[in-house]
């Protein structure tokens, strides 16, 4: 039962994060991970980079609270959340969420719950840089709906 939260300018190493979820962890047979990357397209324009900022301390507290909710709801084993901030060019890793659980369904649900809440509650803001312009990303109604479906259960 451990929760690791990291917010950093530095890139993360999937192998290290994955190992931390599974090594010596013979109680949990299922590990699910989500990795978010800077991708090329947004609204028909070519993204060359993202810029991420956050509200220090508040973000860590919110992520911890989201992870604890998931851990309690699905009896998850280990949870790891790593979110990068700063200027992230195309192809860079942005976010990693990984959970271990006894069963695959709870591992999938737990990871997805964390991502849906992170997207709508954690105090990060994202700006898209295009070749000749930049713009702050607007929040998406679909993200709010994705988060709200967990309350309906």
């Amino acid at each position: 039962m451990s929760i690791e939260i990291t917010i950093s300018h530095d890139d993360f190493d999937i192998a290290v994060l994955h190992d931390a979820l599974q090594i010596g962890n013979v109680q949990q047979g299922a590990v699910v991970t989500f990795t978010g990357l800077v991708r090329e397209f947004s609204h028909g324009d070519n993204v060359v980079a993202l810029e991420l900022e956050h509200y220090p301390q508040m973000t860590e507290q919110l992520l911890l609270s989201i992870a604890e909710q998931a851990q309690n709801r699905w009896q998850l084993g280990r949870i790891s959340i790593y979110h990068r901030i700063g200027y992230l060019p195309l192809g860079e890793q942005i976010v990693f969420v990984g959970v271990s659980s006894k069963h695959r369904q709870s591992a999938f649900d737990g990871a997805q719950f964390i991502m849906d809440y992170l997207k709508t509650q954690a105090t990060f803001w994202k700006k898209e840089h295009f070749s000749h312009s930049s713009q702050w990303v607007e929040f998406k109604a679909s993200d709010v709906q994705a988060q709200q479906k967990w309350a309906a259960d």
Partner: protein, 90 residues
Amino acid sequence: MVTGNDAEQVKLLFFGQLKERLQCASYNLAIKQPLSIKQLKSHLISLQPSWQAALNNDLLIAAVNQQIAQQQAIVKGGDEVAFFPPVTGG
């Protein structure tokens, strides 16, 4: 001096496009008595009239001492109050 003996400081923080529009990340506001978030916003606008449009945005979220707060929440001297647009991380 606005910050006399009977005035206290509130630390304001702005994030995302709000920070960019205000061209301000952090602002020290003196208040003479506890105020609701709504009152605090009005007070701030009276001091910085050009911020009115950006601050009177219904989508803006407020946090007091790093807890999400409603418009009626009370702010007192020493508090940290943040205003920001809906989050877009992940």
